[in-house]
């Protein structure tokens, strides 16, 4: 079995047609969150932190928060929303009475999560661009990183969602996984400078760190070999988890 793009697109459109009706309920809170962080930490705390890696603190913060917006956009979709469609609404059982196959469901859902990551990350990017925090034109290179971060967190989230026995476990996912990533994965301070060398591998294991490092490099307009590792990590982890999710969704839907 393989993905049929027209069928995956039909799954994508199902979500889009629902989202169109309620987008302002969903977009506004998640969109404002990084804006508030930017203002509070960037401008508030930033007033006391004069320079960070050679730039104002708020400028240091901006590229990382683009990735956080993408992470949040994808994560809400592939956690609660997918779990509800899978377990309570039985939406996928209905899809599977048509020529839609589990692979199409997975592809459609991932595309949709990436779309939402694009909406959140894109809106936030606009805000910082208008605020003059995205140095042009090099910051535009960070735009493709929004769907990349979206894909990575869609893959992580859906792999988790397909294996958990109860919806209550999502609170662990958010408070014990996404929140520490947000706080420690290079968004607010260079994690490496606070770690002893023997613990550096811990930093490299954090998924959010890699899109953030890529985005910051794009904003600065610098290139480094470590960025290849960041790219490989993001794509590699996504691929492995999606392969796992593919087995998981088939098992859940077609036993």
């Amino acid at each position: 079995m393989s993905v049929s793009l027209p069928h995956a697109a039909a799954v994508w459109r199902r979500n889009a047609s629902m989202y169109r009706r309620t987008w302002w309920l969903n977009v506004l809170p998640n969109f404002f969150e990084p804006v508030f962080y930017l203002v509070s930490i960037g401008i508030g705390v930033g007033a006391y932190v004069t320079r960070m890696e050679g730039m104002s603190y708020v400028a240091f913060l901006a590229p990382g928060l683009v990735c956080v917006a993408a992470m949040n956009g994808a994560s809400f979709e592939v956690t609660y929303n997918i779990y509800v469609r899978l377990t309570f609404e039985k939406a996928y059982d209905a899809m599977l009475t048509t020529p839609v196959e589990p692979d199409d469901v997975l592809a459609g859902e991932i595309l949709w999560a990436v779309t939402r990551a694009g909406i959140y990350g894109g809106c936030f990017f606009l805000v910082i661009a208008v605020a003059g925090l995205a140095p042009m034109p090099q910051a535009l290179l960070a735009l493709p990183l929004i769907p990349l971060a979206g894909l990575l967190f869609a893959a992580i989230g859906i792999a988790f969602s397909l294996r958990i026995p109860t919806i209550d476990l999502f609170s662990f996912y958010f408070t014990l996984f996404l929140t520490p990533l947000f706080l420690f994965a290079d968004v607010f301070f260079p994690l490496k400078e606070r770690l002893s060398p023997s613990w550096l591998w811990v930093a490299e294991a954090l998924p959010l760190l890699h899109p953030v490092r890529l985005a910051r490099a794009a904003f600065r307009g610098t290139a480094d070999r470590v960025l290849l590792w960041d790219l490989a990590y993001s794509l590699g982890v996504s691929a492995v988890l999606l392969a796992w999710a593919r087995r998981g969704i088939r098992h859940r839907l077609t036993s």
């Binding site: 629902m18 009706r21 039985k90 209905a94 009475t97 036993s255």
Partner: protein
């Protein structure tokens, strides 16, 4: 044969849900899969539309191997699941549109088909309000409309009228008959024997994952019992006194009730009356139905008495 199951078994862990099932559903009619809850009806249907893979055996639909040509088979099947699945926040029309896209329908065919189904299932009065405000009967009609979006050659209905009031059931039955007239083959499951008897021209009775009897309802009744049933309340001792020596074609007992099946109820009643020593015990005479056949074939009634 439109649907052909050969030696099909399905095992879930330790539990054998379907056990060596053979089934032939001819094209054009209405075929009923009857049995109590847990008999394996839904699992059998899921194997017909290829969502559950048989542990052993083969399932062919339209002559195609379902496990290999799932998409091709499902493009020609409509399935109404036991539980209604909608997007509650949007209208029937929008639900139909979403579902039509799973079949890759595009405008203008998509809207045309929606219009046809709004009429066919009488959904027009509430076509544009959110589904969540609709009544149970309306929701069930919408569920059937969804499964007709692709103009299926085979319509699969999993317990179409469970939990619906009598008027709604009658209305749904008339829609199913109309579809049959238009040439759609219907495969349904039910644990209502009256539903099966009214709608189906062939039935298979399933118990514990096996077909225990199949054929036309009247033929099943003739083959296993007799057209008329006489019921009376009595203890086993009384039954021996009253009924031994009478000549029913078959005799069953459910709890305190004895049921005698015969071709000539009047003669049998007279015979029993001749032995009841004038106590004029109440007798019920009625036509034999599929419920009786089920009882005869499985030894248990559908209510699990």
């Amino acid at each position: 044969m439109l649907v052909e199951l050969r030696g099909v078994s399905k095992r879930f862990g330790d539990r054998l849900a379907v056990d060596g099932l053979d089934l032939d559903v001819p094209g054009g009619g209405c075929f009923g899969l009857l049995g109590p809850n847990g008999a394996g009806k839904t699992t059998t249907l899921r194997m017909v539309y290829g969502v559950t893979r048989p542990t052993t055996g083969t399932v062919r639909v339209f002559g195609l191997d379902v496990t290999r040509e799932t998409r091709a088979v499902r493009a020609r099947i409509g399935v109404t699941l036991q539980e209604n699945v909608f997007i509650d926040a949007i209208s029937p029309v929008d639900n139909l549109r979403v579902f039509g896209r799973y079949h890759l329908l595009r405008e203008p065919v998509l809207s045309q088909r929606i219009e046809e189904l709004l009429d066919f299932l009488e959904l027009r009065s509430h076509a544009r309000v959110p589904v969540k405000v609709l009544s149970g009967g309306f929701r069930r009609r919408l569920a059937i409309a969804l499964s007709l979006m692709n103009q299926p050659e085979l319509l699969v209905l999993d317990e179409p009228t469970t939990g619906l009031d009598p008027a709604v059931r009658l209305a749904l039955w008339s829609r199913v008959r109309e579809l049959q007239r238009q040439g759609t083959t219907v495969l349904l499951t039910t644990h209502y024997m009256d539903e099966a008897q009214r709608l189906c021209d062939r039935v298979a009775i399933v118990a514990a994952g096996r077909v225990v009897g199949d054929g036309a309802p009247a033929a099943l009744i003739r083959a296993h019992l007799a057209p008329e049933a006489v019921e009376l309340d009595c203890t086993p001792e009384e039954e021996r006194r009253l009924c031994d020596g009478t000549r029913p074609r078959a005799r069953l007992r459910v709890g305190r009730r004895a049921i005698l099946y015969t071709d000539d109820a009047a003669a049998l009643v007279a015979d029993v009356r001749g032995r009841d020593l004038g106590d004029r015990r109440p007798l019920v005479v009625r036509p034999t139905n599929l419920e009786d056949v089920f009882l005869a074939l499985t030894g248990t009634s559908l209510e699990g008495a």
